[in-house]
């Protein structure tokens, strides 16, 4: 299997930043504005989650994972996602109340 070039690795890393920021922004919005549905938080969470899973498991990012600081960042992300999944998967009210803890 041919490996993709480093441009696409860079692009994916940049994209994961974008998606994390989008998640954080959505959480903030939903905290301030009760009319923002928690489903949008769930969607942004899932998008970031799927990106993070790719970074953690795809052969494409093996070199990235070997880098010490990237490896550390990825593990922090994995921790955050693991700790947050239960909340995100709970009912709307529980999730909304817990939003400040997700930031």
């Amino acid at each position: 299997m041919a490996t993709a070039n480093s441009d696409s690795v860079q692009w994916s890393l940049a994209q994961s930043d974008v998606e994390l920021l989008a998640l954080q922004a959505t959480i903030s919005d939903a905290i301030i504005d009760a009319t923002v549905p928690v489903s949008t938080v769930r969607t942004k969470f899932d998008i970031f989650y799927s990106r993070a899973r790719t970074l953690s498991t795809s052969p494409l990012f093996e070199d990235v994972r070997k880098d010490p600081s990237m490896g550390l960042a990825l593990r922090s992300i994995e921790d955050y996602l693991e700790n947050s999944v239960a909340l995100v998967d709970s009912d709307d009210k529980t999730l909304r109340d817990a939003l400040p803890r997700l930031k």
Partner: protein, 174 residues
């Protein structure tokens, strides 16, 4: 031709037109989805089921014919089994013969895929991976995958960029 023969000819003509018309009507019809819509097609399509769009739930997509293949991908570990509808089959049902597909995802990633990519044995819109539906977290519910291991010419940056996951919209451009 005598009167009777004329009548027979007329009836045959009517029947022929009737058959042709009902054939057209059948091909103009796309069932309505019964559960959550996972894909919306718009633009230059000949068959619709919701205003000017064609909307699908997973069952409706699967009713167009399911193709299965095994392949590794650059984004996953190990051999994956994908089940989906061939892009070719979907476009055939919608009367799309050429042009470009602008495929967009839930995360707003968008890519253009030429209709010429939609060949038999080519890309599928996958709705199952390793026997299960894919959640958004698992890059679902829909993922355009090419059989990378079966056709090495699909192992290219360009094809990888067309392998859009979390797909939810396709606009057909002429």
């Amino acid at each position: 031709m005598n009167r009777l023969q004329q009548l027979v000819a007329l009836i045959c003509a009517c029947l022929f037109i009737g058959v042709w018309s009902s054939g057209q009507a059948l091909s103009d019809e796309l069932a309505d989805p019964e559960s959550e819509i996972v894909l919306t097609l718009s633009g230059d399509i000949k068959v619709t089921n919701q205003d000017k769009t064609a909307v699908f739930d997973t069952a409706l997509l699967e009713s167009l014919g399911a193709t299965t293949f095994e392949t590794t991908t650059i984004w996953t570990e190990g051999v994956q089994t994908f089940v989906g509808v061939e892009l070719r089959s979907l476009l055939e049902v919608l009367g799309v013969k050429g042009g470009t597909l602008k495929a967009s995802a839930v995360n707003d990633y968008a890519v253009e895929i030429p209709v010429s990519d939609a060949v038999e044995g080519g890309p599928i819109i996958a709705f199952r991976r390793n026997g299960a539906e894919m959640s958004l977290r698992e890059k679902g519910p829909l993922w355009i995958v090419y059989p990378y291991d079966i056709k090495p010419e699909y192992q290219s940056e360009l094809i990888y960029s067309r392998s859009i996951w979390q797909l939810d919209r396709i606009e057909v451009l002429p």
